[in-house]
């Protein structure tokens, strides 16, 4: 087993991996950009090294710097988390060359699944169902227009190096094609450094169902069942759950076997996720392989009892997979909500700033994977994910109730977050019925605004604001001459101290 692992990521996922290392008796080394000196991952790790300026290209994407840091500090392996260098075959190759273990798939498998087009070709050849569309990169606008006509509108633009919804656009008519292509290519270029795109038939209102798979270095592959991730905005998942309401045991078995076959075709090792679209007729299509630990991995962990990060580390260290397909089973129901620093009532615009107060929910069956703390300033340079709230319960119904209550208990003040929005998503009747498709947010939550709430709530909130005006720290500000003192409220209401009656 490794003695030290470098975690080349930040935020909640770096914290998750560092915790796994600690539990396995492995030293952890955090790397950070100048914007992340105060990051939680730096605080949790055994060692921490600054790897450059805030922009990711100069720090978290700086391969030479990261490999050099691993070498000089004696880390034998690098865990890339998700995003950044997680699915970069070049990085995996450089690690291999430097004699450092990349905790993830081998570079050839990464090459194949990272190239959406080659993956489509390979899977189709092996009899795995794929979405109709182009099987090569679009050369120019004229070709795109011709292909789009051939496929039939609506079509989907996808980044060849894609993932996370970056570069993805739905195009309903030829008129929209050029501007969508331009902005999709620009976004792909900035996210992946590669602007190649291709077109696929757009499947209307599908479900997004993915299978978690683990493969050791000796060809032993198991799947850990599905996750349903249909609740998305901007093609990015915000709520995930398992089991999926759409699968019958028979369909689950068939899709699970297909997922294992996909990994076999790709000669894949370590953890991966095979994504499928499931259309209204319960026909499934291979979408892509996410060759990394997924954001939503905790729902699988809670229902199968398998620690995926520890499995990844064991596989990378050359251990044989001890799990057997026939012994794996799903138990109960798990739901995850992604907490983003975004304003849900204003088009999910990113919201950066200081977290003035944080209270994470607690209680039976509640897990909080976070990378934040009260007093922390959310930097503008990176993905706006703050944390993930995950619940487990015996049934889907209790899991929904538990999630709603946990969201109600979750306090983040100072920045806008998706918490109030998620609460309404979880409480929506269609969600309760399990009627979740990728069009869910657009159908039921377009131009969402939080409702007013009970009038008494506003009265009490105002009363608390008024009491706060009288609190000692405001008094100190005033005494320091930072604010003009008009009158002293203390004489009228009396001084309020912590733990003291008024």
């Amino acid at each position: 087993m490794f003695k030290k692992i470098l975690v080349s990521n930040r935020g909640e996922i770096a914290c998750r991996i560092i915790r796994a290392c600690r539990e396995m008796g492995i030293a952890s080394l955090a790397v950070y950009s100048e914007a992340d000196r105060a990051g939680l991952h730096v605080q949790l790790a055994d060692e921490a090294v600054c790897i450059g300026p805030p922009p990711a290209v100069e720090s978290y994407l700086n391969m030479d710097r990261i490999i050099e840091t691993a070498r000089t500090s004696g880390a034998e392996a690098i865990h890339p988390g998700y995003g950044f260098l997680a699915e970069n075959p070049e990085f995996a190759r450089r690690c291999e060359r430097a004699g450092i273990v990349f905790i993830g798939p081998n570079s050839r498998a990464l090459d194949l699944v990272g190239d959406k087009i080659r993956a489509r070709q390979a899977m189709e050849k092996s009899g795995i169902p794929i979405i109709p569309g182009m099987k090569h990169v679009a050369a120019d606008f004229a070709e795109c227009a011709a292909e789009a006509r051939k496929i039939g509108y609506p079509v989907m633009i996808k980044a060849s190096a894609g993932g996370g919804g970056k570069g993805m656009r739905i195009v309903c008519s030829e008129e929209e094609l050029r501007p969508s292509l331009e902005s999709g290519q620009r976004e792909a270029k900035s996210a992946f450094g590669d602007e190649s795109v291709y077109l696929e038939k757009y499947i209307e209102d599908p479900r997004h169902v993915e299978f978690q798979v683990l493969a050791d270095n000796y060809g032993h592959i198991v799947h850990l069942f599905e996750r349903e991730c249909s609740i998305q905005r901007r093609h990015q998942k915000i709520v995930e759950e398992t089991p999926s309401q759409a699968l019958t045991p028979e369909l689950r078995r068939k899709m699970g076997e297909t997922a294992r076959k996909v990994l076999e075709v790709a000669e894949y090792n370590n953890a991966g996720t095979v994504e499928f679209l499931l259309d209204r007729n319960k026909k499934f299509y291979f979408l892509e392989v996410n060759a990394r630990l997924q954001v939503e991995h905790p729902v699988t962990e809670l229902t199968t009892g398998v620690d995926l990060v520890q499995q990844q580390i064991r596989i990378a260290a050359g251990e044989k997979l001890s799990l057997k397909q026939e012994n794996l089973a799903q138990r109960g129901h798990a739901i995850e909500c992604r907490i983003y620093a975004e304003d849900p009532s204003n088009n999910f615009l990113p919201s950066s700033g200081k977290i003035l107060f944080l209270r994470e929910p607690m209680g039976p069956g509640i897990r909080h994977d976070g990378g934040i703390y009260g007093g922390w300033e959310v930097p503008i340079y990176y993905d706006p994910i703050l944390a993930k709230l995950i619940v487990w319960a015996e049934t889907r119904e209790s899991a929904c109730a538990r999630m709603a209550a946990a969201l109600d208990d979750y306090v983040i003040l100072g920045i806008s977050t998706t918490i109030p929005f998620l609460k309404e998503v979880i409480s929506h009747p269609q969600f309760h019925k399990g009627e979740t498709t990728t069009g869910f947010i657009k159908s039921y939550f377009e131009n969402w605004r939080q409702n007013q709430g009970p009038a008494e709530g506003l009265t009490l909130a105002l009363a608390a604001a008024a009491l706060d005006e009288l609190s000692p720290s405001q008094k100190v500000e005033k005494a320091a001459g930072l604010e003009k003192e008009v009158y002293s409220p203390w004489q009228m209401l009396g001084r309020w101290r912590i733990g003291e009656k008024p």
Partner: protein, 167 residues
């Protein structure tokens, strides 16, 4: 004792009176009695007719974020117009339209030039933050009077990007 706040652009007046352990809260035509216990610098427990409320308050300059029962209220001191005018915000003046960045980020593209005619909802500029591109749309039909930024500029939230002249 009276306090004046602005919530969602609406002026709110609240008055508190202390009676022993309790305060009586007057807001509009309603009156509530609450027993108060200060829990920490940021949390206060209120008992209203036996019902228990935990209220959390965080302040940031003239703003207060107040959390109660899963809901966050953004409460600002004083009156809206006054606040805008104090900050020298152009939105306090009528007939001028300054388009601002809704969040801190980097200007990746400016789609219009000065004196150009613009339609309502036309994309004026693209600001990138946290890896997402956000199109800044024109709030009105008119002309571009002045452009304050160029691609590559880092902008703060509420920083003017350009100024429009309504038609």
């Amino acid at each position: 004792m009276d306090f004046e706040f602005t919530v969602d652009g609406v002026r709110q007046t609240i008055s508190l009176d202390r009676k022993d352990d309790c305060i009586s809260i007057r807001h509009g035509d309603k009156t509530l009695e609450a027993e108060v216990r200060v829990i920490s610098k940021q949390a206060v427990s209120l008992l209203v007719g036996g019902r228990s409320f935990l209220v959390i308050v965080a302040r940031d300059k003239d703003k207060k974020y107040v959390w109660l029962n899963g809901r966050t209220y953004l409460i600002q001191r004083g009156k809206e117009e006054q606040r805008l005018a104090e900050r020298g915000d152009d939105r306090a003046q009528k007939g001028k339209s300054v388009v601002t960045s809704p969040m801190p980020g980097k200007v990746v593209k400016v789609n219009v030039s000065e004196n150009e005619a613009v339609r309502k909802n036309q994309t004026l500029a693209v600001v990138e933050a946290m890896k997402m591109e956000n199109e800044i749309k024109s709030p009105l039909e008119g002309f571009v009077k002045k452009i304050y930024v160029s691609p590559g500029d880092l902008v703060d939230s509420e920083k003017p990007l350009l100024e429009l002249e309504p038609k």
